[in-house]
Assembly symmetry: C2
Homo-oligomer: 227 residues x 2
């Protein structure tokens, strides 16, 4: 489903170069459940942004379903993101002027959904992440963990094939985190491809494969044998 071939993502900072990703080879199959771990600054969010078509490599090639992403223009990438990929950002990226319900419906309107259908789906997902009593609140009126759960629900609203989540439970107490992890496990059982960046052992141990990033390179891949 996804292939990274010698992928690099460099930033030019004056005379020095930051090598956020520095030559990554990786294959991810349909229905896989991965955790990506590594030190702060090791390149995890950079890798997830590339996988989610939010960014392009500065070197190497990224294949999505066999197609090299470098041959796709920005409109095509935007369409793939809207229909196939659900993304939970490390900093949530909610729209502060819209309510929880409106934040959830926005991606459905972009896909041409009927308002009544969109509203119903938004209410169902809000309930699934425990926010049915916060539908009229706006992001500044929510706790950090509530905002994070809106971001999670929003990533699922278009029923994506691939769910990419960047530290999706860092602001949640262990009980709430467990509910979210069980939700993600259910999605994995439905056949979705799940890729979670995480610092937390309890999140990584539920994945089938764990990728360890060190200084922008794949250091090793651990197979979780109890799956």
């Amino acid at each position: 489903l996804v292939k990274l071939d010698g992928v690099e993502r460099h930033y030019q900072m004056g005379t020095s170069t930051v090598r956020a990703l520095d030559g990554v080879d990786l294959e991810i199959r349909r229905g896989d459940h991965w955790a990506i771990m590594g030190r702060s600054g090791s390149g995890k969010s950079t890798m997830l942004n590339l996988l989610g078509c939010l960014d392009r490599p500065t070197g190497g090639e990224y294949y999505l379903g066999g197609t090299p992403v470098s041959t796709l223009d920005d409109d095509a990438l935007s369409e793939i993101r809207g229909e196939r990929i659900g993304f939970v950002f490390q900093s949530f990226n909610l729209i502060p002027q819209l309510t929880v319900l409106e934040n959830l419906e926005v991606p459905l309107f972009y896909q041409g959904g009927a308002p009544a259908v969109a509203r119903k789906r938004a209410e169902e997902l809000a309930a699934r992440v425990g926010l049915d009593d916060r539908l009229d609140h706006r992001p500044p009126e929510l706790s950090g963990g509530q905002q994070q759960r809106v971001a999670i629900a929003r990533s699922l609203i278009n029923d994506p094939l691939i769910v990419l989540a960047d530290e999706a439970t860092g602001n949640l107490d262990s009980n709430t985190e467990m509910e979210i992890l069980e939700l993600l496990d259910d999605l994995a059982k439905e056949g979705k491809t799940i890729i979670l960046v995480t610092h937390a052992e309890e999140v990584a141990e539920r994945a089938r494969k764990i990728l360890i990033l060190v200084d922008g390179k794949v250091d090793r891949i651990i197979e979780n044998s109890d799956h």
Copy 2:
């Protein structure tokens, strides 16, 4: 040092009232090291904002060093915050247009610090949180955990009496988190008062007292006996 007496923080949402804090009694002594835990939405950030004089109760009274905060005007509160309190926000609140170094220096300029002294102190704290190679980066050019560490360093720049940190290690791998926790332990040994909101066991177990919030009320206080 700090006393909460029947403290309430209510929000009026149309016809319903959100009781973020719903009657909190608490005494915190100088040099204490507390962890505040509780479900997502239970009122932890609300409590920390009140303790940090960033917000005022809607009911009850908050005493800081014996003075009821309700008798202090906004300028007086602002001065206390600037000189005595270091605050790490759950969402960092860095200034995106300024570099790491400039973000760290800003609070020192408000306190009338000389530029050369301010720059030296900013460099020292950046090094202490492992960011001495990111001084010229701006927040959008940093990883999540790097931004969090800038926020931590900034909270310490004025050598505050009280350090209030809201989920200060949620975006850090366990090694980097350990460095930050050791830094906070050092500050506790220096006699600073440390109050950490956290979801993480490994953070809470280093505190001397753990407060558990449930639905805006103190449910129980646990004394960590191995201190």
